[in-house]
Amino acid sequence: MGKLDGKVAAITGGTRSIGRGMADAFLAEGAKVVVNGRNAEKGARCLAEMGAGDNAVFFQGDASKQADVEGMVDFAIAHYGQLDICCLNSGGVDKTGPVASMSDEEWQLEMDWNLNQVFWGMRRALQHMIPRETGRIIVTSSVEGKLGKPGIPGYTAAKHAVNGLVKSAAHEVGTLGITVNAILPGLTETDNLTENGPASAEAMGLESYEALIDLFTQGAAIKRPNKISEVAAVALLLASTSGRNITGTLFPVDGGTMPY
């Protein structure tokens, strides 16, 4: 008997990294899972690796596009008949830089990808969950939702905003059997990190990728990046029945980085 038997989850950015960790954890506890990503090939590979048969399906879409985010929610409901757990997990930066040299295009992308995605997905999911009086919204925020490092102003602003959105929404639906929470990971060992870390390091004026890892983990008590499995375990708790009275919480998984 799994902790999520009979539940349906949808996860933006679910083919790799933290989202994939959530998908694997949810599948292991009996859920059916829709994973989203931009790349059909990576989606197919993800499904093959998970080997979950009809219990997992890929939805191709760009999490920075409203139609695709809403499309994922609609697809999950159409495909599996309901949506119990909506993980708005995708996020990141493209060509980030300090405020003084930030382009409008990059700023808009970071707002769409990190903030608007969460609003679009949450609104669509809540419209389905409110009449059913049950549901879980889990947002992957970041320690940057409480801190602020040079060189990533858009990401930082968006994650701060996401935390506020989570708190407001949690209070709106608190008596309807729906919880809304954010997980705030510290630097996490993901594919995204290894792929985009070097460029981020350069944007932040750091000597190397290793210097970036060092910078982001020196603020942590554990002096190492977090692991995907550590984030996924919290998502599972929040998604399960055990999480029913935890809402509006900004749950840290950051090795002791944030000051509050």
Partner: protein, 259 residues
């Protein structure tokens, strides 16, 4: 296979309320558990009800007394050979009153059972965990450690001190395989709340029912929390999956705390 197979846990104030729910959750996940309390009869009753045989043990002690806190940690190691998990859980508010009317005894007594107990137990446990290179310490703090409810200043101050202790100590041992966290539950109608909340309500100029309603209305869920909410978070923090969470003050309060 339980998530805490082979682990030894010590829980202060573990015969009733949150501590008892945590003890049962830890036992279910395969741990051996020592619970403490002031009342030997309640301890015996808790052991009988838990029915865990040799996997559970009771030690009588008063968390307001340093020697008792230290003896409890030693008794855990004597009984099961080590200590992997400390849940510094006991606490409460002694004679709460507005600051203008707060007695020294009420402030001191509340600091003893919440803050000093956590410090003494943590220090004693770390003496074993640091050489061992592993450990989990979890303090039961409160939403009151993050906010300030009028009439409860002694409890608020004590829990805020616990939170500060957790944040600092977590950084001291962060690279040694030891995590230190606090859980901050919202109001839960435990025996401890039934013991102290009527007096708190009186000091705040309201009935006990009105106090409960005030706590519920401050949350998003408009009801009190339950001990099981806390127990599942404790299992996560105590397990391998919790290795990357430290120095955190985790709200389990139905959306009450502002941060």
């Amino acid at each position: 296979m339980g998530q805490l197979e082979g682990r030894v846990a010590c829980i202060t104030g573990g015969t009733r309320g949150i501590g008892r729910a945590v003890a049962e959750a830890f036992l279910r996940e395969g741990a051996q558990v020592v619970v403490s309390g002031r009342d030997a009869a309640k301890g015996a009753q808790a052991l009988a009800e838990m029915g865990a045989g040799d996997n559970a043990h009771f030690v009588v002690g008063d968390v307001a007394v340093r020697e008792d806190c230290e003896a409890l940690i030693q008794a855990t190691v004597d009984r099961y050979g080590k200590i992997d998990i400390l849940h510094a859980n006991a606490g409460g508010a002694v004679d709460p009153a507005p600051v203008a009317a707060m007695t020294d005894a009420a402030m001191q007594g509340t600091l003893l059972v919440n803050y000093w107990h956590t410090f003494w137990s943590m220090r004693a446990a770390l003496a074993f965990m640091i050489p061992q290179g592993s450990g989990r310490i979890i303090a039961t703090s409160s939403v009151e450690g993050k906010v300030g409810t009028p009439g409860l200043s002694n409890y608020v101050v004590a829990k805020a001190a616990v939170n500060a202790l957790v944040r600092t100590s977590a950084k001291e041992v962060g690279t040694l395989g030891i995590t230190i966290n606090a859980v901050c539950p919202g109001a839960i109608e435990t025996d401890a709340m039934l013991d102290s909340a009527p007096a708190a309500a009186e000091s705040m100029g309201m009935t006990y029912d009105a106090l409960k309603d005030m706590f519920a209305q401050a949350s998003a869920i408009k009801r009190l929390n339950e001990v099981e909410d806390v127990a599942e978070v404790l299992v996560l923090l105590a397990s391998d999956a919790g290795a990357g969470i430290t120095g955190s003050l985790i709200s389990i309060d139905g959306g009450t705390s502002p941060y």
